[in-house]
């Protein structure tokens, strides 16, 4: 029998399938299935750790390649070379052959070597450059010290003038530090150290030197004006040049050690100014040589990276897919004797034909004589819940899935939600103008869908974009409810002739009272004459309150009916007679009756009857407090009807409480009396006992396994471990039912009241937009002339900005959340079972969507 067509009404019919795949084409088969993306593979090696699995080696290798690709990517980021976008490839989703993967791995290995060696040499060169630059600074600065010192020499005319050092010590003496000043100025004994040190270490450096040498030194330093760039991490460091003069070789050695330990770089400087000039020249030529070499290296590296950037995205996709393929293969059990991979997977029954033909294709391409076998297994396991969604339905399905996973084959609440969610939103958001704004926005998003899908969006916008079709429906319905409320940016819309005419007063003016046009009711929505009247709220509150109750009643009755559909589908008549029927009677006899009286009261012309209309609120309260007494009658026989309804509602409570648990107990006892036992309770009498035990030791008690000693494939249902089977426990069922009954009865009241939020929010929305208009535009209209025009433009901008930000975005969000609550709590609690397992197919498409390659 062909399976029924999959619709959104129920989750797709699933089958547990078993695949026997020849080892040689395992990779190709899984990769083809990944492209299809309709199989949810079960892990058959749950006990094995990730390291013990069959294809760990391959995954490691791919991990390495992935790391190399990421390395290229980071290098490209560093060099600001853009990667060719994934969308520019014609078809990046073709699955490559194994040899192509090998080729890619080799290529990426060699490229990595090349890039890293280029990088290394680049970095070494860069380091060399920095060193030379620092040296140049030292030469320049130290030269400055020497020159200044010489200037002093001539001034002071120290006797020993061949030495450049002497005036320096003179300088030292002047500073009061040179104890050696009295001694003979032997050139041999005075040495110096020159170098570069990070600026923040200078203070510490000075202090340490001072303490260790007890002041036997003379230090001079100056700041390098431009920061030095460290090639290793590209950080800028400001450094100082220092030169230290000291006495004696040992002290010099000590200074060297201290400076090196503090991270200073020492450079040799010659005392002789001629030599120094040569040094500077040499450094300069070396620097310029180095710069050209650096440029060449950099351009080679960039060229290499640009070449990589052209295909990097495709490689990343390929490797990602390949890795996912092996990870899936690791879930399979491997039969060493027959070189066969055995896989178990859930798949939609409707896709089995497609799966089989795909497998056939793979087989043909590989030229293998052994076909891949697809078996359907019967199982007691719960199949996963799967809905095929499209662009339009996806967001609505997500709303429902966010609440809970739908039970397999249960009625899908997402289908009616497509209408009810935006509609209830619109009841709260009813304003034609605001509806036009959000419809326009959503239409724009839908129109530029493809472009927006590919671009990176910020969080808030991407959320709105995800729900663009919801927003679209919301906008359409908001426009409709706006027309019904007769509101457009809080102004009235006089579409038809009003049913009210102003009375003429004594002075011949109009107002303040009005009279009705005889025999005419405003045909569409609220009469626009109500706008800005003194008793506008009196009328619209009464109307919107009743509207909320009536819509809530409709929505809840509608939702409650789905529980009937579910009970019929799952063949549990006890849910109909023990839950649905008493629940429905209870709900209708109180709130159905309330809804009826609301409509009835509207339909009666009380003025013509010459009666005062009775208050419905009091009626409902007295229906419970004093059954049988009616203060202001609505219709004949009301008292009797109310008593009957009340009794019916009361009678339903015990039925709801006891019928289902006792019926279940009766069923259970009957089954036991006939000799049936729970499967876990009695010893197994099957001849397969040995096999079963063996199967459990071999396969760790998984649901089925694919091999036995005789080489005949067989399937064991490991029902001993059945998570599906629950022991019947009367007390548990009873408690559950008591909770359900109390919850249902109380919720009938609280949920009906909860729908009043429709009134509250629509009132708030309308009032807010009126206030906004009065505070901005109305004031703007007060000005005239050129100034008035300019002010008007400014005020209009402010008004429009606030309308979009406050009334559309903020109010819209709040109305959306309230609508969400009405669906999750008020509606779904009436029928939703929701203990399903989500279907997570192995699909490359999903994989790439989850971890996009930018």
């Amino acid at each position: 029998m062909a399976p029924p067509k999959d619709t959104m009404f129920r989750s797709a019919d699933m089958s547990l399938t078993q695949l026997y795949i020849a080892n040689e084409i395992g990779r190709e088969v899984v990769s083809a299935l990944g492209e299809l993306g309709v199989m949810d593979f079960r892990d058959l090696n749950l006990e094995t750790t990730a390291f013990q699995r069959t294809f760990t080696q391959e995954i490691r290798r791919l991990d390495n390649v992935e790391r190399q690709l990421r390395y290229f990517h980071s290098q490209m980021d560093k060099a600001t070379i853009p990667m060719r976008s994934i969308y520019d490839f014609n078809n990046p989703f073709t699955s490559p052959s194994a040899s192509e993967i090998d080729e890619l791995a080799d290529k990426s290995q060699s490229l990595e070597n090349r890039i890293s060696s280029l990088n290394e040499s680049y970095e070494t060169l860069k380091k060399r450059e920095v060193e030379l630059t620092e040296w140049r600074w030292v030469l320049r600065e130290a030269g400055g010290f020497f020159d200044r010192a010489r200037g002093q020499t001539e001034e002071i005319r120290q006797s020993i003038d061949e030495s450049d050092d002497a005036p320096l010590l003179r300088d030292v003496e002047q500073n009061g530090q040179g104890e050696a000043a009295e001694r003979s100025f032997s050139v041999m004994n005075i040495g110096f150290v020159a170098g570069v040190i990070p600026r923040e270490r200078v203070a510490a450096f000075e202090r340490i030197l001072w303490r260790t040498l007890r002041g036997n030194l003379y230090m001079n330093q100056s700041e390098i004006p431009e920061p030095i760039i460290n090639p290793e991490n590209n950080e800028e460091i400001s450094k100082n040049v220092f030169i230290i003069f000291a006495h004696g070789k040992e002290i010099i050695a000590k200074i060297r050690k201290i400076s090196e330990s503090l991270g200073a770089d020492l450079y040799s400087v010659d005392e002789n100014s001629e030599l120094r000039r040569d040094q500077v020249q040499e450094v300069n030529t070396r620097l310029s040589d180095l710069a050209s070499v650096l440029r060449n290296t950099k351009s080679t590296l960039d060229a290499e990276l640009t070449a990589i950037s052209r295909s990097l995205a495709a490689w990343m996709v390929i490797i990602k897919k390949e890795k996912a393929t092996y990870q899936t293969l690791n879930k399979f059990s491997y039969d060493h004797q027959r070189k066969t991979l055995i896989a178990e997977a859930w798949a939609p029954t409707n896709s089995l034909g497609l799966i089989k033909s795909t497998l056939q294709d793979v087989n043909d391409r590989a030229g293998l004589s052994v076909p891949t076998i697809v078996n359907q297994i019967k199982t007691t396991k719960t199949p996963p819940t799967y809905f095929k969604t499209n662009r339009f339905t996806l967001a609505f399905q997500t709303i429902i899935d966010a609440y809970g996973t739908i039970k397999y084959r249960e009625v899908n609440p997402a289908l009616p939600t497509i209408v009810t969610f935006p509609f209830l939103f619109a009841v709260m958001f009813g304003d034609f103008g605001h509806g036009v704004i959000i419809t326009t926005v959503s239409v724009a998003m839908i129109y530029f869908e493809r472009k927006l899908l590919r671009s990176k969006l910020d969080e808030l916008f991407s959320m709105i974009f995800y729900g663009r079709y919801i927003v679209f429906m919301m906008g359409i319905f908001s426009m409709y409810t706006g027309l019904l409320y007769c509101d457009a940016f809080s102004k009235e819309l006089p579409l038809f002739k009003s049913m009210w005419e102003w009375d003429e007063n004594d002075k011949g003016d109009l107002g303040p009272t009005s009279h009705r046009v005889e025999g005419y009711t405003y045909p569409f929505g609220l009469d626009w004459r109500w706008h800005e009247t003194d008793n506008d709220l009196l009328f619209s509150n009464s109307y919107k309150m009743k509207l909320s109750i009536l819509l809530g009643w409709c929505h809840m009755t509608f939702s409650l009916c789905w529980s009937l559909v579910n009970a019929r589908y799952f063949h549990t008549p006890i849910d109909i007679w023990g839950n649905f029927v008493p629940g429905m009677i209870f709900f209708q006899s109180i709130f159905g009756y309330l809804s009826f009286t609301i409509v009835y009261k509207w339909c009666v012309d009380w003025a013509a009857r010459g009666q005062n209309p009775p208050s419905l609120l009091n009626m409902l309260i007295y229906m419970f407090l004093k059954p049988g007494t009616i203060e202001a009658p609505l219709f004949k026989g009301q008292a009797g009807l109310q008593i009957v309804l009340l009794l019916m509602a009361l009678a339903c409570v015990p039925v709801m409480l006891f019928l289902k648990p006792f019926y279940l107990r009766y069923e259970h006892n009957k089954a036991r009396a006939l000799g049936y036992r729970g499967i876990g309770e009695s010893t197994r009498v099957s001849a397969l006992d040995d096999d079963d035990d063996e199967g459990q030791t071999l396969n760790g008690g998984r649901e089925s396994f694919g091999d036995d000693d005789d080489g005949i494939a067989m399937i064991t249902q490991d029902i001993g471990h059945g998570e599906e089977h629950e022991e019947f426990e009367f007390s548990e069922v009873m408690i559950h039912q008591v909770i359900h009954t109390i919850e249902f009865c109380l919720n009938c009241v609280s949920h009906t009241a909860s729908y009043l939020r429709l009134w509250a929010l629509s009132l708030a929305h309308q009032r807010l937009s009126i206030v906004l208009w009065d505070m901005t535009m109305k004031i703007g209209f007060g000005f005239t002339g050129i100034v008035g025009a300019i002010i008007m433009v400014i005020i209009f901008g402010g008004w429009f900005g606030l309308t979009v930000a406050v009334l559309c975005v903020m109010e819209g969000t709040s109305a959306m959340l309230h609508s969400l609550r009405l669906h999750w709590v008020e509606a779904m609690s009436k029928h939703f079972i929701g203990d399903g397992v989500p279907f997570e197919p192995f699909s490359f498409k999903v994989l790439l969507e989850e971890e996009p390659i930018e």
Binding site: F423, D527, W530, T533, L551, W602, D605, W606
Partner: protein, 71 residues
């Protein structure tokens, strides 16, 4: 009864629309979505309209406005 029959006319119109939508819904895998969306939308919109209409059928109060300007 002032226009008391209007809700019934509306009902007939909506019923006809729903019937039309049911059969005219595009065939294919999205037929269910089309049908449910069109029918439910029509019903929801009708409900909202008819409630508004009924609320004004025999209004208990009439508009009062003191700041009326002579037209």
């Amino acid at each position: 009864m002032a226009n008391g029959f209007a809700p019934f006319i509306g009902l007939i119109v909506v019923a006809l629309f729903c019937g039309g939508a049911w059969f005219a819904a595009p065939k294919g895998e999205n037929q269910t979505v089309w049908r449910s969306t069109l029918v439910l939308s029509a019903v929801a919109m009708y409900l909202m309209w008819v409630i508004t209409f009924l609320a004004q059928l025999h209004p208990l109060i009439s508009p009062i406005r003191s700041d009326l300007r002579p037209e």
